[in-house]
């Protein structure tokens, strides 16, 4: 891996950590604060692509595991991997990978703005919602003994919020691509 | 120093940053001036091999920047425009040690080298501080320490007094004058280089004046108003 890719991944990990420290940002049109860290995972895929995005997320989890309070709310340490929601944390890695992989394939420089944003949105939903919840819900179902159906119903309340985050990530991803293109992955 | 450019030039993304040129730099203190985007930084980066010539070759003290890249980086220390981005680890002492990693030094030797370089720039009190909290002048000295700990005989500084207040500027100037290493300084701060041995003026990727500071600076003033 080139030094530049290593640095890009580390800087993005720093952005994801910082997003957990910053106060929630209000969206303009719905009065719901966005806690931005899980959106950072989608952004990592959308902006950096599969490989660098996945490494950025792995770095955040590594920092948490070795005892740094890098997750939102100042959580950190190995104890965060003992929660019933740990599946969502592990799912971050795969969410970033799938979002990045699909972004690299869906979005082309030759497309118009609408199509690019739509491509990023589809990638973010597939990775950051479908894949993420597949991991999160399966883990929750097993650890709690609730079973898949109940675990799914219990997690459903969070899906609308995550769809909104995917939309923001798609818009931001497209804006960053215009301002500082990193996709398709440069060597 | 003994830096030789042999018909060396570089272009990327279809744009020529430095037109092929031949010269040899042997003076102890050399200044590089020119407008923004004139090729100064690319030229300096070619000297320590960060930018490879797309034609010709560059040698430093006999080492080729392409073939002997590692040896060249042992010869040339580089202080970047923004020292903020130069310091990689969160605590200054850790960052300085990083440059010595892989040199098979014992823990004690490493400590001695680090403490020595900190003392040299009078920044021992900053060793265990968080890099993020250092001021502009402190950062510039910290960057110097982190590069000079590996004892390169040549140091390149890219606009070392940029964005410093008067006190920090004086501090950095004084530190530069006291350096035993050969220095090559890119600067918009003309008084800084007024007593240097040789000054190069870059314009649109070429050297358009080369000689004693006062002559070259006069030439630069003409370009600046044209």
């Amino acid at each position: 891996m080139s030094t530049r890719d290593l640095v890009l991944s580390a800087l993005f990990a720093a952005i994801i950590v910082a997003l957990g420290l910053l106060p929630p940002i209000m969206l303009g049109f719905i009065p719901v604060p966005i806690t931005a860290q899980s959106m950072g995972v989608m952004l990592a895929g959308v902006i950096l692509g599969a490989k660098r995005g996945t490494i950025a997320v792995l770095l955040v989890l590594l920092l948490a595991a070795i005892g740094l309070p890098v997750l939102s709310g100042g959580r950190g340490g190995l104890a965060v991997f003992a929660a019933p929601t740990t599946g969502f944390l592990i799912g971050w890695v795969f969410a970033a990978f799938v979002t990045g992989y699909l972004s690299e394939r869906f979005v082309k420089n030759s497309q118009g703005a609408m199509l690019q944003t739509a491509g990023f949105f589809a990638a973010a939903v597939a990775g950051g919602v479908v894949v993420l919840y597949a991991f999160g819900i399966s883990y929750l179902a097993v650890v709690s003994g609730l079973g898949l159906t109940k675990a799914f119903v219990g997690s459903m309340a969070f899906i609308p919020g995550d769809l909104v985050k995917a939309a923001v990530a798609a818009l931001a991803g497209r804006a960053v691509m215009v301002g500082y293109p990193l996709l398709p992955a440069r060597a | 120093m003994d830096v030789r450019f042999d018909q060396a030039g570089t272009s990327f993304d279809g744009r020529t940053a430095v037109h092929p040129l031949s010269l040899s730099l042997t003076e102890r203190r050399i200044g590089i001036i020119g407008l923004n985007g004139s090729g100064k930084t690319t030229f300096a980066r070619m000297i320590n091999g960060l930018v490879q010539p797309s034609q010709g070759r560059v040698t430093v003290n006999g080492f080729d920047t392409g073939a002997d890249g590692e040896a060249v980086r042992g010869q040339v220390g580089f202080i970047f425009q923004n020292p903020q981005n130069q310091i990689i680890l969160p605590i200054l002492r850790e960052d300085i040690e990083l440059g010595l990693r892989g040199r098979k030094l014992t823990r004690g030797q490493m400590q001695d080298r680090v403490n020595g370089v900190l003392a040299r720039f009078s920044i021992g009190h900053l060793a265990d501080r968080r890099v993020h909290e250092l001021s502009g002048g402190e950062l510039q000295l910290a960057a110097l320490a982190s590069v000079l700990v590996t004892e390169p005989p040549i140091v390149i500084l890219d606009e070392p007094t940029n964005q410093l207040d008067l006190r920090n500027r004086t501090l950095v100037e004084r530190t530069l004058r006291a350096l035993d290493e050969d220095v090559l300084v890119i600067s918009h701060d003309l008084p800084l280089i007024e007593d240097y041995d040789r000054v190069l003026l870059f314009h649109e990727g070429r050297i358009v004046a080369d000689g004693r500071p006062e002559e070259v600076v006069a030439e630069y003033r003409k370009i600046a108003v044209s």
Binding site: T3, L6, L27, I66, R75 | G102
Partner: protein, 206 residues
């Protein structure tokens, strides 16, 4: 960023990080092999004693675990109501014990020892070209170094918004924050290569 390591000289502090991590894995497997509330209750009690013996004080110890304990409690309560009381109790005790033991390992192992352990675990993969072990420590250091920079960039953006009477919106914060931060990547990478820290030929482009 302060780490969650707590200075001390307990038996757990002196144990090598590798042994602690192996023990943690063994404990977590054992916890999932039993369904007896009595055994799990004993384990939770032992875990609490262990965690309490590290000398970090009650308040600090509680604050660290509160958010995790809350999710465990919510899920245990759901299990208790939707399935059986016994299952709810088992989930609560099992995860609480795991959390306590994991937190004890974190509190007794400095960040540097973890990085050393992970780097040596990565050496075998280095030989097959999958990862460079020294890059792990370098990357972790870079993240810790640049989190405060990102936060100060956010502060500057926030003030810029206020100065122009604008409200903070995700798009007007995240986009410039990301671009500004990633733009410094080129120079940071050049600095790493110029100092020969990764000890290999740098790329030819600027």
């Amino acid at each position: 960023m302060r780490s969650l390591y707590v200075e001390g000289d307990s038996r757990l502090h002196r144990l090598s990080p590798r042994i602690k991590l192996i023990l943690l894995i063994v404990v977590s497997l054992a916890l999932f092999l039993t369904r007896s509330p009595i055994m799990l209750g004993g384990a939770a009690f032992a875990g609490a004693l262990l965690y309490g013996s590290l000398g970090m004080g009650w308040r600090e110890g509680w604050l660290r675990l509160r958010p995790i304990l809350l999710t465990i409690a919510v899920v245990a309560l759901a299990t208790l109501m939707l399935n059986t009381v016994e299952e709810g109790v088992v989930v609560l005790l099992r995860l609480t014990t795991l959390m306590l033991v994991a937190a004890a390992v974190t509190a007794t192992t400095p960040v540097g020892s973890f990085i050393g352990e992970i780097s040596s675990a990565a050496r075998p993969f280095e030989r097959i070209g999958l990862v460079r072990a020294d890059d792990i420590g370098l990357a972790v250091g870079l993240v810790i170094r640049f989190v405060p920079e990102v936060v100060s960039r956010y502060e500057i953006l926030r003030q810029a918004h206020r100065a122009r009477g604008l409200k903070l919106r995700p798009m007007t914060v995240i986009v410039p924050l990301t671009i500004q931060t990633l733009k410094s990547a080129d120079e940071i990478a050049a600095a790493i290569d110029a100092r020969g820290i990764r000890g290999h030929k740098p790329p030819s482009r600027s």
